[in-house]
Symmetry: C2
Subunit: 741 residues, 2 copies
C-alpha cells in the first residue's frame, strides 16, 4: 500500500490509487545529509535502506545544518513550491496579526511539511470533506491551526474562504482559535489540549485498519487511506500521547504517519529546561519506525523521501522527526518562544516580508500558487468518483458487507436495531447493572455494525467483552474487542478518533467510574466535538466496597451533570440499562456516560426503556390528582432504597410517588408540562437519595426538600457496612420524608 | 552516597550512615546468571561494572531461569530469609482470604524484594514513622498493599499490629483496601489509582534532592535518604508514569530507585494483549539507568546486587526490572490473572501452604522471624538519635539554615508570615488576578521556606515564577522554580509527593484552569490524602477569549465544589487574591484551587483578606436591618459586574447587597448566624452571576432566585464579545434583579 500517493511533480494521469510516484522510480543513493535515523540501536529493516533513493532536486535550496540557526531562502530562484510554502507562512502571519492573537511560530516552521502533505501526498476531495476514503490529517499541536486553515484554503475547501482567514479567532467564524471539527468541514477532530490529536490519530488509524481488514477483498481494496499527524514538543510531553503511541506500536498501525515538529521551543523557552529525553529512542521502544529529517525548513526532498520510507514500512507506525525552526523567516523572533503564541507585530512582519522576499499585501495568494493548487478540485472529485465506482462494483459482489460498511460510513443505524435490546420483569433475579450492560452490548453487537470498543484492562470487571468477537490486535484487526491496557486517557481520545472517522462508528470504552478523572480531558473533547462515544463506567459508588475511597466515586455524577453536551445516565436495573443503551446509541453527536453498579440490583416494577428516554419518570405512585404527600427521587442503585422506603411510608398512610431520575439532562429537555407531571411545583416535600455528592440536588428537591447523599470521601469496608455507616438507607429516607411532609 | 545502606548480614555496629556494607568489600566476578542490563545501547558507566561483585550466598537457593515457571522453595534448608519472605507471602494470603477481598498476587511475587528493602536496605525508625531523614517507600501498585502492611508489621510499626492485619479491608481498620497515608502511619502516600505512586515517588525524591542541595554542608550531610518504589505493569502503561519518569530522568534524581514488578500479568490477562513495548528501552530514553533482575522470585542476591548498583549510579534514577511470578507459590493460580485480584480460596491456600512448606496457622509469624525483625526497633531508634545529634550540631553551626529546615521538617509556619501579603485599595489600577497571584507568590517566597513550585510550561501565562530564585534543575537543585513541562497529571502527583515528604513543604503548581481535566486524578488524591498543594489555575473562564472552547472552563468550578476536602477559591481582585493565598497556605491538609483571570479586574471597595476566609461576605450594601430588596452574588471576574449592576439598581431606588462568594466550602463552614447575616433566609430575591455553569447555584440563590451563567461550551472571539453574546453582563443582572424582586 505504499505506492498510492499523489506526487506534485508527476500528477497521476489516470488518478489510479496505485499510480507509482516518481520517487519510486529513481535509484541513486541519497547524499549523507539526507534523513537518517538517529543512532539506531537495532538494524533497520532492509526495505528501509532500499527505499533511500535520491530525489530529484527541482531547484537550488540551501540545506541548513543546525535547526537552531535562522536561515532565509534566496528568492532569486524561488519556485512554485517555495512560493506556496511562503504563501502558507504569510497567511498564518497575516491572520494572527489581524486578530492580534494566535500562534504564528508553528505554521512558519511547519509550512514545508504542510505543503508537501496537502499538495503532493494526501488524497482528498476538497468539495466533499466527508468523502469516506480520504486521507485524514490531524494537527495535534492545534494552536498552530492557521497552518491547517491556510492549507484547506489553498486546497479549495469551501469552509475556509479568503474572508474566513480574515476572521481568524473572531465571533462566529469558521476559523476559531483551535481546530474544531464541528465548526470547520475539513478539520477531522478537535485539538488544542495537547496530546489529544495524536491519540485521535491513533483512533483514526485503528478505524482504517479495522475496516480494511473487515471489508477489503482480494479483488477489492475498498478501504485504503492514511492518517497523518503533526505533533509538537508539548504533545510529546503529555502522558496521553505516550499511552496512545504505545498502543499504536502494539497494534502495528502501519498507515499512521506522525510528524514530530522538533523545534526545541515550548512556551517557557528552550525545551532543554524540561524535556531532555530521547524521543526517537522512546518511539523505537514503543515499536515505531523512526526517521529523522534534519532540515525541515527547506529540505523538501528529505521530507518527501521520509514519507516514502514511512509508507514502505507497513507493519509499524512511523514517526518522522522533522527538525524545524519555529517562526522560520522572522529575522528577530525565529527560534524563540516569543514567536510561539503571539502576533509578530507590524515591524517584525515587515522584516519577515523583507527577509523572505514577500512583497505582497496581507492575505495575498499569488496567482501561480492559486493556479497550482486549483487542480485539487477536479482531482479530488475524480478520486471520489473513482472510489464510488469501485464501491458500486463491490456492492454488487459483496452486498452484505457493502451494507455494513455503508452503515458505518453514512451513520444510518440499521432499521429496528433497538428491538435487540433485552427487557426485564421483576421476577427476573437481581443482577449488577454492569452485567446487564454486558447483556446489552452482546445483544447489540450483532445488529450494530459500528459497535467497537473495550476496556482499560478491566474487561472482566467492567463486563465489556462482546463474546461473539475476538480481540482487535495487530494480526486480527477485523475483530471488535479492543484491549486498551491501563491507559484511560488514551482510550477516550482513541475512541474520539474512531467516532470521527465515520459517523456510523459507535465506540465504547470502559473503566471504573472514578477513573474518569484520568480521562476527563478526552471526555470533554467528546462532548465538545460531538463524538457519540459511550463511556461504560462501572463500580459507580461506595457500593464497590473494600477497594476503598481511592476507587469510590463521590463527586463524579455531579461533575458530568455540570459538563455541557454529555449525557450522564445512571440506570437502576435491567430495563433502565437497556434504556440507557437505547439513548446512548441514538446519541451520535453527544457522548454518554453510563454509571453502573458492581453490586446486584433487583428489577423494579415500573422501570422502562421509554422512561429512561425522559430522563426522570414515575415508577410507582399511590397518590391521585398529581399531589402526593411526598416525592422520593432516586437514581441507580438507590432507586431500590427509595422504593422500599415508599412501601413503608404507604403502609403508614402516606401517598408517595417514587421517581427515577436516571438522566438530568434528558429530563431538562422535556416539556414543562411533562416536568410538572413528574415533579409538580406545589409538592415541595421531596427527598432524593443517591450514593454520591448532594451537590446540585437542590435544583431537584428544592429548598424545602432533603437530599440524602455523601459529601465526604468513601471508606474501605464491605459495601453494606458503608451504606449503613454513611446513612444511605431506607430508614434515612423515611426519616427525611417524615421531616419534609 | 552509595555506601550508606544497612546490611542484614553485617548490621553496622556504630550505626553510622557511612558504614560500608559487606557487599562493598567483596571483589569476585558475579556469575553470568546475575543481573545484567538489557542490551544496553550506550556503554554503562564504568563504576557500574566495578560494582558488580559476587555477593556471598549464605544458603542454597535455586535460581529459576524462566519467570513464567512456577517454582517452589525447598524447605529442608529454609533460611531465615526464606522464612521471612514466606511469612510476608502468607500474611498477604491470609488477610485477603479472611477479607475474601484483595490482591494476593503481587505480595506473593514481590515478597523477596520487599523483604530485602525493609530488612536489609532501608533506614527507618518504626516507632517514629515521621522521622525526617527516613528512607521513603512507595507501593505504586497500591492494590498489593498487603505487602506493605506485612512489612510494616514485621518491622515493628505500631500502626499495623496483628489485629490490624486481621481487619484488612474492614470498617475503621488501619489496613484499608489500598494504602492510605492518612489512615496508616508508615504509609507515605495514597496509592491505588495506577501511576500516581511512581509520580509521588518522583516528588519525594525531588524533595530530598532539593533539601540536600539547599541545606547540606561539606561537614554536615543532614539530608540524605533514598526513595524506593514498586511499580507494576499497570503503572507502566499509565501516561502519568511516563510524564513523571521523564522528569525524574531530566532532573537526574539519583536517589530514586524504582522496582518494576515485571510479572507479565494484568487484570485482563497476559500483558501481551496490550503492552508489548520495551519498557527498558523507554526508560533508557527517559535518561534512567536500567537493570534487569531475571529471577525476582528467589534471586535474593541478584536483587541485592541490583540495589547496590543502583546506589552507585548517582546522576540518574534507576529502574530495576524484576521479573517475578505473580502469585508465586500457588500451584494452580500462579502466573495467571486469577491470582491478581481475588482471594485464593481455601483449597488453593492449602495447596500453597503445602507447596511452600508452610504448616502454620493463618497470620502466624514464626518466632525466629519475629526475633530477626525485632532489631529494627532499637536500630531505628538509634538511627534517629544519631541523626538528631547530627542535627543539633548542625543547628549550632548553621542556625539560620537549621531554622528553615526545621520549619519544613516540622510544618510550623514562620510567625507573622502572613504580613508579607500585599493589600490593595480601589485606587490601585486594575490587574489580572493571575498577575496579583504572582505578586503574592513573590511576596511569600522569602518568608515561606517550604514554598516551591512551578507551571506545566505556562509560567509566563500563569505568572508563577518566583523572581528571586532560579530553576530547580539537575545541576541547580537548590533552586525553587520547578519546570514541569507540559505534564499536568505528573505535575500534580509530583506535588503530592513533595507535600507528603515534609509537612512544611508548600508545593504549588499551575496550568490553565481547563486543564485540571488532565490532572484531576492527582488533584483528587491531594484532597483524599490531605496534601495541601496549591493549584494556581489561570485563564479561568470565557474571559480568556480567542483560544476558544477547548481552553475555556465552564463546568470546572462546579466540579471542584462537588469534590470533598478541596478548597475552590475564585478571588475577584488584589485583596481577594491575597486572601486566597492566606487560606491556601494555612490549609496544609486540604488542597486549594485558585481560579484566576487572564483579564484585568479592578480593585473593588469592600473586598478583604478577612472576607475571603469566610468564603462569602458582603462587599457593599445600602440596605438596613438585614433586609435588602435583592442580593447580588458574584465570584471572581463577575463580582465587578454585580457591583456595577448594584450601582444602577440603587440609583433606581432599590436596596441592594453585593456578596462575594469566593469559596463555597469556607462559607459552608461558618456559623448559621454568620450565614444568616450574609444571606438572610427571608430574602429570596437573589441573583448570582458567574462565567461558568449554573449547576449547583440553586443552593445559593434558592428556587425563587436566578443564576446567570453559561451552560454550554464557550467560543473563540475577543473576551468582551463573548461576555456580551453569552449574556454575562450588567444588563442581564439588572433584568434578573428586577424580575425576582
Amino acid at each position: 500500500m505504499a505506492a498510492s500517493s499523489l506526487s506534485l511533480s508527476h500528477p497521476p494521469t489516470g488518478l489510479s490509487p496505485t499510480t507509482t510516484t516518481r520517487h519510486h522510480t529513481t535509484t541513486q543513493t541519497p547524499p549523507s545529509s539526507f534523513f537518517s535515523p538517529p543512532k539506531p540501536t537495532s538494524t533497520p529493516p532492509s526495505h528501509t535502506l532500499t527505499h533511500r533513493r535520491r530525489l530529484p532536486t527541482a531547484h537550488r535550496r540551501r540545506i541548513i545544518s543546525s535547526a537552531a540557526a535562522v536561515e532565509t531562502l534566496h528568492n532569486t530562484d524561488t519556485t512554485i513550491v517555495d512560493k506556496s510554502v511562503n504563501t502558507i507562512r504569510f497567511l498564518a502571519i497575516d491572520a494572527v496579526e489581524k486578530a492580534n492573537s494566535g500562534h504564528p511560530g508553528l505554521p512558519m516552521g511547519c509550512a514545508p511539511m504542510g505543503h508537501i502533505l496537502f499538495d503532493e501526498i494526501m488524497r482528498y476531495n476538497p468539495k466533499n470533506p466527508y468523502w469516506f476514503n480520504r486521507d485524514r490529517f490531524v494537527l495535534s499541536a492545534g494552536h498552530g491551526c492557521m497552518l491547517h486553515y491556510a492549507l484547506l484554503h489553498l486546497a479549495g475547501y469551501d469552509s475556509v474562504k479568503d474572508g474566513d482567514l480574515k476572521q481568524f479567532r473572531q465571533w462566529g467564524s469558521k476559523t476559531p482559535g483551535h481546530p474544531e471539527n464541528f465548526e470547520t468541514p475539513g478539520i477531522e477532530v478537535t485539538t488544542g489540549p495537547l496530546g489529544q490529536g495524536i491519540a485521535n490519530a491513533v483512533g483514526l488509524a485503528l478505524a482504517e485498519k479495522h475496516l480494511a481488514a473487515r471489508f477489503n477483498k482480494p479483488d477489492a481494496e475498498i478501504v485504503d487511506h492514511y492518517t497523518y499527524c503533526i505533533i509538537g514538543d508539548g504533545c510529546q510531553m503529555e502522558g496521553i500521547a505516550n499511552e496512545a503511541c504505545s498502543l499504536a506500536g502494539h497494534w502495528g498501525l502501519g498507515k499512521l504517519i506522525a510528524f514530530y515538529d522538533d523545534n526545541h521551543i515550548s512556551i517557557d523557552g528552550d525545551t532543554e529546561i524540561a524535556f531532555t529525553e530521547s524521543v526517537e529512542k522512546r518511539f523505537e521502544a514503543l515499536g515505531w519506525h523512526v526517521i529523522w529529517v534534519k532540515n525541515g525548513n527547506t529540505g523538501y526532498d528529505e521530507i518527501r523521501a521520509a514519507i516514502e520510507e514511512a509508507k514502505s514500512v507497513t507493519d509499524r507506525p512511523t514517526l518522522i522527526k522533522v527538525t524545524t525552526t519555529i517562526g522560520f523567516g522572522s529575522p528577530n523572533k525565529a527560534n524563540s518562544y516569543s514567536v510561539h503564541g503571539a502576533a509578530l507585530g507590524a515591524k517584525e512582519v515587515d522584516a519577515t516580508r523583507q527577509n523572505l522576499g514577500w512583497p505582497h499585501e496581507p492575505f495575498h495568494v499569488p496567482e501561480d500558487v492559486k493556479k497550482h493548487w486549483s487542480r485539487h478540485t477536479p482531482e479530488g472529485a475524480a478520486l471520489e468518483a473513482e472510489w464510488n465506482a469501485k464501491f458500486a462494483a463491490y456492492e454488487k459482489k459483496y452486498a452484505e458487507d457493502a451494507a455494513e460498511l455503508k452503515s458505518i460510513a453514512d451513520g444510518v443505524l440499521p432499521a429496528g436495531w433497538e428491538k435487540a435490546l433485552p427487557t426485564y420483569t421483576p421476577e427476573i433475579p437481581a443482577d449488577a447493572t454492569r452485567n446487564l450492560s454486558q447483556a446489552c452490548l452482546n445483544a447489540l453487537a450483532p445488529v450494530l455494525p459500528g459497535l467497537i470498543g473495550g476496556s482499560a484492562d478491566l474487561a472482566s470487571s467492567n463486563m465489556t467483552l462482546m463474546k461473539m468477537f475476538g480481540d482487535f490486535q495487530k494480526k486480527t484487526p477485523e475483530e471488535r474487542n479492543v484491549r486498551f491496557g491501563v491507559r484511560e486517557h488514551g482510550m477516550g481520545a482513541i475512541c474520539n478518533g474512531i467516532a470521527h472517522h465515520s459517523p456510523g462508528f459507535i465506540p465504547y470504552c470502559a473503566t471504573f467510574f472514578v477513573f474518569t478523572d484520568y480521562m476527563r480531558g478526552a471526555m470533554r473533547i467528546s462532548a465538545l466535538s460531538e463524538a457519540g462515544v459511550i463511556y461504560v463506567m462501572t463500580h459507580d459508588s461506595i457500593g464497590l466496597g473494600e477497594d476503598g475511597p481511592t476507587h469510590q466515586p463521590i463527586e463524579h455524577l455531579a461533575s458530568f451533570r455540570a459538563m455541557p453536551n454529555i449525557l450522564m445516565l445512571r440506570p437502576a436495573d435491567g430495563n433502565e440499562t437497556a434504556g440507557a443503551y437505547k439513548v446512548a446509541v441514538e446519541s451520535r453527536k453527544r457522548p454518554s456516560v453510563l454509571a453502573l453498579s458492581r453490586q446486584k440490583l433487583p428489577n423494579l416494577p415500573g422501570t422502562s426503556i421509554e422512561g429512561v428516554a425522559k430522563g426522570g419518570y414515575t415508577i410507582s405512585d399511590n397518590s391521585t390528582g398529581n399531589n402526593p404527600d411526598v416525592i422520593l427521587i432516586g437514581t441507580g442503585s438507590e432507586l431500590e432504597i427509595a422504593e422500599k422506603a415508599a412501601d413503608e411510608l404507604r403502609k403508614d398512610g402516606k401517598t408517595v410517588r417514587v421517581v427515577s431520575f436516571v438522566s438530568w439532562e434528558l429530563f431538562d429537555e422535556q416539556s414543562d408540562e411533562y416536568k410538572e407531571s413528574v415533579l409538580p411545583a406545589n409538592v415541595t416535600a421531596r427527598v432524593s437519595i443517591e450514593a454520591g455528592t448532594t451537590f446540585g440536588w437542590e435544583k431537584i428537591v428544592g429548598s424545602k426538600g432533603k437530599a440524602i447523599g455523601i459529601d465526604k470521601f468513601g471508606a474501605s469496608a464491605p459495601a453494606g457496612k458503608i451504606y449503613k455507616e454513611y446513612g444511605i438507607t431506607k430508614e434515612a429516607v423515611i426519616a427525611a420524608a417524615n421531616e419534609v411532609c
